[in-house]
């Protein structure tokens, strides 16, 4: 067994273990930290496959940004775990059963596919390819997949706006300028000309023409 093979098995074991930990941890913080571990391991695996850029991006973006976001939210919400139910409960049985079945199916599918479609390359072709994976990826991204890239950018923007709009809390005490209203203002909004009877005695004015005091 070569070192790369050894590495693969080790990483795969860590990955699966941390994945199991993610879904089974009682404390969400543990789960989040296990997920970080899973991301790290996955990044390592990708790098062994020659996808250096993606591996690094995974570490930077996910471990650095997304998972931190998760942890922030976790801290912010201060979720108290009140659930005292045992970890293994009855509803786990169908879940595990269907998981096992699913795994069996997929494994059979893969093994079957390998058997019938012998054209699958058995060894990693990446071993021979040039090392500037990042450059090649960049070329492909900005040439062939430019529009898709732009669309993904728009998607990110929309996601960002959505997240802000959803979580933004309008403060009742905040004071702010409404520029559009300031510009759209007209004279009548600001000024009211009130005609007052000039030299009438007070009693007459109130008694006889109360409605004339109103504006015109």
């Amino acid at each position: 067994m070569s070192f790369s093979a050894f590495l693969f098995y080790v990483l795969a074991a860590i990955l699966l273990a941390s994945a199991v930990r993610v879904v089974s941890a009682r404390q969400p913080v543990h789960a989040a930290l296990s997920l970080v571990l899973a991301f790290f391991t996955m990044a390592a695996l990708w790098i062994t496959l020659g996808a250096e850029f993606l591996g690094l991006a995974l570490v930077v973006i996910y471990v650095g940004a997304v998972m931190v976001l998760f942890l922030f939210v976790l801290m912010m919400l201060d979720v108290r775990q009140t659930d005292k139910t045992p970890r293994w409960r009855l509803h786990l049985i169908p879940a595990l059963a269907i998981g096992a079945l699913m795994l069996l199916e997929i494994v059979l599918l893969i093994v079957d596919g390998v058997k019938t479609k012998t054209a699958l390359p058995e060894s990693a072709a990446s071993m021979d390819k040039p090392l500037d994976n990042t450059r090649e990826l960049g070329k492909l991204l900005f040439e062939d997949y430019l529009y898709s890239l732009e669309l993904v950018g728009v998607l990110l923007l929309v996601g960002m706006i959505a997240a802000i709009v959803l979580t933004h809390r309008q403060s009742r005490f905040a004071k702010r300028q409404e520029v559009s209203e300031q510009i759209a203002v007209t004279r009548d909004d600001r000024l009211r000309v009130v005609s007052m009877p000039a030299e009438v005695e007070a009693e007459d004015a109130t008694a006889h023409s109360p409605d004339k005091t109103g504006g015109h």
């Binding site: 093979a5 693969f8 997920l35 991301f39 996955m42 979720v79 062939d144 996601g159 960002m160």
Partner: protein, 105 residues
């Protein structure tokens, strides 16, 4: 059966195992929406592993481009998901999955 040397099949099997683990997590998780979101990240990750593995074995970088897109989408998804989570928490005071039954028929 595949040999000990890691081949494409190994990676695919690994991705499958990861997928199944995360699906079981989604189904079995009844306490925390946050963990649900994490499990979804794992699902996407397993898909990404397949993309990268195929990309490597077929020597075609398109797969890695797809992975990038998936990563971006996953980021958006977790951002919006977390925002919704925060809203949910503000409304109800907890984020336990089993209390979310307003859609009950």
């Amino acid at each position: 059966m595949p040999g000990l040397e890691p081949t494409l099949t190994h990676y695919l099997l690994l991705a499958a195992a990861l997928l199944v683990i995360s699906l079981v997590g989604i189904i079995a998780n009844r306490r925390n929406v946050l963990v649900l979101l994490m499990a979804i990240e794992l699902v996407l990750l397993s898909a990404n592993l397949n993309f990268v593995a195929f990309s490597a074995y077929y020597n075609d970088l398109s797969g890695q481009v797809m992975t990038m897109f998936v990563l971006a989408t996953a980021a958006v998804e977790s951002a919006v998901g977390l925002a919704l989570l925060i809203l949910l928490f503000r409304r109800r005071g907890n984020i336990a999955v089993q209390t979310l039954d307003v859609m009950k028929g």
